[in-house]
Amino acid sequence: MRFTPTEDQIAFAEATRSFVSRECRPDVVRAAWATGRTPAALWDGLDGLGLLALLAPEELGGGGSELELTSAFEELGRAAVPGPVVEHAAVAVPLLAALAPDRLADSAAMSGGLTATVSDVVPYLGAGHALVLESDRIRLVDLNGIEPQESMDSSRAVGRLDRSRIDTAEVLAQGPGVAAHIARAEDRAALMTASFLLGLSARAIEITVEYTSSRRQFGSPVGTFQAVKHHMANAHIAVEMARPVAEAAAWAMATDADDSRRVCSMAKVMANKAARRTAKAALQCHGAIGYTMEADLHLYLMRIWSLLNAWGTTEFHSDRVFDALGDVESDFNRTRQASLVG
C-alpha cells in the first residue's frame, strides 16, 4: 500500500497550475461571464495541455486516468476556471470514447466544449452542444439560441432546456449497456466536481489568510484574533480531510474497483461539507468587502455554492453511501462483536 500521488499526477498538476496561473487570472473569469464564452486562449490552452481529452484513447490524445484528472481539477478549482470543464473532460469525452468514438473528432460538436447534464438544467458557457444523459440513453442536444438564466454564478451560464428540444435531439447511444457507462460518468463527474470544490476552497482560504493578515481593526491585523483564526483552521481541516477521500476515489475509478461508486459519493459529501464551511468562513472573515462583487473572493464563493448541488447534492450522495453500507464486503466490516466504542 502506498498513498501518495504518482509522478504523472504531480507533473500534470504542476503543468496545469502553471498554465492557469498565467491564463486564468480573476479578470479572465470576469471576462467570461461578461462575454458568455470561455476565452479561447484558456480553452485552447487546456486542450493543449491534454486535459480536455485526457480520458480519450491514446490515439486521440488521451491515455490518462482519473488520478491525473483529479489532481488537475483541483488546480482548475484554484483558478476558478470558467466553462463546462468537468462536463466536457470527465463526462462527454469518456462517454463518446466508449460509445461514439467518431464524434470525438467532430469539431462542430466539440468546439468550445461539449457540456453534459442529467436534467433540463445545463451549465454551458461557450458550449454549442450538450449531452443529455437519461437512464440508458444519451442525446446530443444543440444549444443554439439558448439563453442563460439569472443564476448564482455567471461563469457557468446555466440554461434550461425545454422538453421538445431534448425529445427531438439526436440519440447518440441507447440500450442497457449504455446505462452502466452513464452511471460511471456521473460518478466521475461528482468526483471531479469534488476536486474542483477543494481547489476553490483551498484558494479561498489562502485569499482570506492574506486579507486578514493585512486588514487592521482595533489596532491589529484581524488575523491575530482567535475567532478569525478558528474559522480558518476549521475550513483548512475540513479541506485537508476531504482531499484524501477524493484521491482514494480517483484511485478507485482508475482501477475500476468495486467500491468506486461509494468512494466517489464519499468524496462529494466531504468536499461539499468542506466547501460550504470554507465559503462561510472566508466571507465572514472578509467582512463587508467580501460581500461585494468587486472583491475577487466572490469568484470562489459563488462557484462553490453553485457546485454544491452539481452532480448530486450532499443528501443524494449521503444516501448512496448509506445504501452501499450493507453491501460493503471489505476487510473492515465483518465479524463484529458488537461491543466497545470510543
Binding site: 483564526k229 485537508e240 476531504a242 465479524t335 463484529r336 466497545l340
Partner: protein
C-alpha cells in the same frame, strides 16, 4: 498510489484476525480507567505480549514483531474490529515509546521498551499542573540539581494524570533551570511513582471512574539516567510526544472505524429512526473512512522518511470532534435508553474529554492557523 492490500499484508491481517478471535477475552473488558478494569486489561495485554502482538511495529529485541506502521494500522483495525478497546498500557506504548525511540539512549531503550511491551511498567503522563493545562510551557514543577547524588530533586504538583493511581511510572515535564521561563529550561524526566516522596491522590473523573490522579512530589530523587533527551531539552521531547498524541499513533483509524460500524449496527436496530439521524450516522461513517485515508497518507509519508509536523493538530481536532459526534448520535438513537448506564454512555463521557486533553481544540486551532496557514500571531 496503490491502495490495494498486498498479499503479505493480507496474510498478516488474517493471522491477526484468527489469533484475536481465538484468544480475545470471553467477556467484554471493563474500562481500564478503574482499578479493577486496569488490572483485567493488564492481564489481557500480558497475553497479547506473550503471543508477540503487543507492539507489532517495534524491533523484536524490544518485544515487538519487527514490522512496519502499515502492519500496525492493520493490527489496530483487527484489534478494534474484534471488539477490543483502548489499551491500559497506551501511554507507554503510544506516547512514551515513540519519544524513547527518537531521543532515548541505547541503555534507556534496552531497559524500558521491553518492560512497556510486557506491561511490567505502566506509565502515566505528567504534563498538566493546576496552573498549566493546555499552556504546557507554564509548568512549575521544579527539579533542583543534586550533584552529589548524581541526579535531581523534584518538588511540586502534577494533576489530571490519567490512570496515575494504578501506574508505577511517570514521564513528566519539569523545570530544571530555575531561572528559565516558558519552554526553555525544561527537562523530560522518567519518574518512579513508588519512590520516596511521591504521593498519588485519585481524583474522580466525570462518570465516576477513579482513573485521574494528582501527584505530589516532596524532594523526589530522579537519577541522571532517567532524563530523556538531555537536560534542558524537555520541550523538544515533549513536543514529539504530543505529536504522537494528536496524530495517528494514539488514535488509530481502526478504533473509529469500529465505532462507526457499531453506530451503523445500532441504527439498524432502532425502530423508525429519523432521516436526520441517518445523515448523522452516514457522516460518522464517512468521517471514519476519511480519517483512515488521511492516516494512510501519513503512514506513507513516514515510511518514505517524512515527518509529522503541526498538521497533527488538525488531526486532533478532527478525530476528537468525530468521537463526540459519533457518541452524541448513538445517544440520540437510544432515546430514553441513553440515560441508563451502558457502553455508549461511557464512550460518550470519554469522548467529552477528547476536545480538552492533549491541548484543547482551541489551542490546536491556533497552531493550525499560525503554523500551518501562516496567520499572524497576536
Amino acid at each position: 498510489m496503490n491502495l490495494e492490500e498486498s498479499s503479505s499484508d493480507h496474510e498478516f491481517r488474517m493471522e491477526a484476525r484468527d489469533w484475536l478471535r481465538t484468544n480475545r477475552p470471553a467477556e467484554r473488558l471493563p474500562s481500564p480507567d478503574t482499578e479493577r478494569g486496569f488490572a483485567l486489561n493488564r492481564e489481557w495485554e500480558r497475553t497479547l505480549f506473550e503471543a508477540g502482538w503487543a507492539a507489532v511495529s517495534w524491533p523484536e529485541e524490544y518485544g515487538g514483531r519487527g514490522l512496519g506502521l502499515w502492519e500496525w494500522m492493520i493490527f489496530e483495525e483487527e484489534y478494534f474490529a474484534a471488539g477490543l478497546g483502548p489499551r491500559a498500557a497506551q501511554n507507554g506504548l503510544f506516547l512514551l515509546a515513540p519519544s524513547l525511540f527518537e531521543f532515548g539512549t541505547d541503555a534507556q531503550k534496552a531497559q524500558l521498551l521491553p518492560r512497556i511491551a510486557g506491561v511490567e511498567d505502566m506509565w502515566a503522563q505528567g504534563w498538566s499542573e493546576p496552573e498549566a493545562g493546555s499552556d504546557l510551557a507554564a509548568v512549575r514543577v521544579r527539579a533542583d540539581r543534586d550533584e552529589a547524588a548524581g541526579g535531581w530533586r523534584v518538588n511540586g504538583q502534577k494533576t489530571w494524570s490519567t490512570r496515575a493511581p494504578f501506574c508505577n511510572r511517570l514521564f513528566a515535564l519539569v523545570r530544571t533551570d530555575p531561572e528559565s521561563t516558558r519552554h526553555r529550561g525544561l527537562s523530560y524526566l522518567l519518574i518512579d511513582l513508588d519512590a520516596p516522596g511521591v504521593t498519588v491522590r485519585p481524583v474522580q473523573k466525570l462518570g465516576n471512574e477513579t482513573g485521574f490522579g494528582e501527584i505530589f512530589f516532596d524532594d523526589v530523587f530522579v537519577p541522571d539516567s532517567e532524563v530523556l533527551g538531555g537536560v534542558g531539552n524537555g520541550w523538544k521531547v515533549a513536543m514529539a510526544t504530543t505529536g504522537s498524541e494528536r496524530g495517528l499513533i494514539l488514535r488509530s483509524p481502526g478504533r473509529f472505524m469500529a465505532a462507526a460500524q457499531n453506530l451503523v449496527d445500532l441504527y439498524a436496530s432502532v425502530d423508525g429512526p429519523s432521516s436526520t439521524l441517518k445523515r448523522d450516522v452516514v457522516d460518522a461513517w464517512i468521517s471514519a473512512q476519511a480519517y483512515r485515508y488521511n492516516s494512510m497518507k501519513t503512514v506513507t509519508r513516514i515510511a518514505e522518511g517524512g515527518k509529522v509536523g503541526a498538521e497533527s493538530s488538525g488531526n486532533k481536532v478532527f478525530w476528537s470532534e468525530m468521537d463526540v459526534h459519533m457518541h452524541e448520535t448513538a445517544l440520540d438513537l437510544l432515546g430514553d435508553g441513553a440515560e441508563i448506564d451502558g457502553k455508549w454512555w461511557h464512550g460518550f463521557i470519554t469522548s467529552m474529554a477528547t476536545p480538552i486533553f492533549a491541548g484543547t481544540n482551541e489551542i490546536q486551532r491556533n497552531i493550525v492557523a499560525e503554523r500551518v496557514l501562516g496567520m499572524p500571531r497576536s
